[in-house]
């Protein structure tokens, strides 16, 4: 069931912070909180300072702080471009 998982890449200018398969990604955009599940329609959003949560394939939650950044979703591929993610 590989098509029901998201391929997530969380990158900052200085390094790749996290990459792998995930069940869900949630983040806060300029318009408000946003959750992304597999088969989400293509989206490009600007993030505000806050937390990005990635729920990994094993069900474990990973939380990251971002200070601005972007989120792009296409074909079950999520890339989060954070600035100074930790």
């Amino acid at each position: 069931m590989s098509d029901s998982l998201l391929t997530v890449e969380f990158v900052t200018p200085e390094a790749r912070v996290w990459s792998g398969k995930a069940k869900m990604v949630s983040a806060r955009t300029l318009e408000g909180d946003l959750g992304i599940l597999p088969n989400h329609s293509p989206l490009l959003g600007a993030l505000v300072d806050g937390k990005v949560t990635i729920k990994g394939a094993d069900g474990a939650n990973e939380e990251f702080e971002v200070h601005g950044g972007f989120l792009s979703v296409a074909n079950n591929r999520v890339s989060i471009l954070g600035e100074a993610g930790a």
Binding site: E9, P13, A15, R16, L43, L44, L81
Partner: protein
């Protein structure tokens, strides 16, 4: 020990200690190139994703963002020159400065005023020595730039770009960057690129596979582009800084390697000279002794 020999020995000693220093610098640079390359590699995923995102927005929206529109009558251009803080890197900084000079001449030929922004103490000194105006300069991080450095530089450059050049003396219509591209351990090329206004479709690295999907924008294409473009510039500046840093280390390693080789050469020829001097001294001493003995024996023979 004769004077000649002593002088040769002293020179050999001094060349040897110089060689130790250059050898150490060579080794240090060699290890730092690897680190610098890793940093370039670490920044690529971000740059690729960002390029993808920018081309996606640019393809699917007709927004005319100030950062992508060309001025009909450009008046002023900014040039950012990236050089090293320290010397001992052969022609590394000189090449970048020369490239910049060439670019400035072309810009001036187009009737543009040129504002220079420089990175690295070498370029700062070059401009200071010639009493040329520098709009702003940043030093102290040429061998290990961080993203914060790139951000600081881009913030200022973008601010200058967003000002209207027609009415504001600080505003610029174009932004060029001169840096040294790290092609390989042996090839680094100083080159100039126009950063702003953006040439919208640029494929740095692998082009996004297939067609780009129809994106939805959150909140809207204009806002996303607003937030995206400055990041894009930052990442380009950051990449230029990282490549320049890698090139600097490579150039330094090469310069120090040839310095070490030259020192070896010098030690070799000085050793030969010192040996010859020692031998000459011995020969002279022998002939003096023989001569002295001869004189003595002939004096004795005369007195008998």
């Amino acid at each position: 020990m004769g004077a000649q020999l002593r002088i040769y020995r002293r020179r050999i000693r001094s060349v040897k200690s110089t060689k130790k220093i250059t050898r150490a610098m060579e080794l240090i640079s060699a290890s730092r190139i690897v680190k610098a390359q890793q940093r370039v590699a670490a920044s690529t995923p971000y740059a690729n994703e960002l390029t993808r995102a920018v081309s996606a927005v640019a393809t699917f929206s007709n927004t005319n963002h100030p950062l992508t529109t060309e001025s009909a009558e450009p008046k002023r251009a900014a040039v950012l020159i990236v050089t090293a803080d320290r010397g001992m890197a052969g022609a590394y900084s000189t090449n970048a400065i020369k490239e910049a000079e060439g670019l400035i001449v072309t810009l001036k030929a187009r009737g543009l005023q040129v504002l220079t922004y420089v990175v690295g103490r070498k370029a700062v000194n070059y401009y200071k020595f010639r009493n040329r105006a520098v709009k702003n300069s940043w030093t102290g991080f040429s061998d290990k730039p961080t993203y914060a450095n790139a951000k600081e530089i881009s913030t200022e450059l973008i601010a200058a770009f967003l000002k209207d050049a027609a009415i504001d003396n600080e505003g610029v219509d174009e932004l060029h960057i001169v840096f040294t591209e790290f092609k390989s351990m042996v090839t680094q090329v100083a080159l100039n690129k126009r950063m702003l206004p953006l040439e919208v479709v640029e494929s740095d690295g692998p082009a996004p596979a297939g067609l780009l999907p129809m994106y939805e924008f959150e909140p809207n294409a204009g806002e996303v582009l607003n937030a995206l473009l400055p990041r894009y510039i930052e990442s380009r500046v950051y990449n230029a800084l990282l490549q320049s840093a890698a090139s600097e280390h490579a150039a330094r390693r090469r310069a120090m390697k040839s310095a070490t080789d030259n020192a070896d050469e010098l030690i070799k020829s000085l050793t030969r000279l010192a040996n010859a001097a020692r031998q000459a001294e011995i020969t002279q001493e022998i002939s003096e002794i023989v001569g002295g003995a001869d004189a003595l024996s002939s004096a004795n023979a005369g007195s008998e």
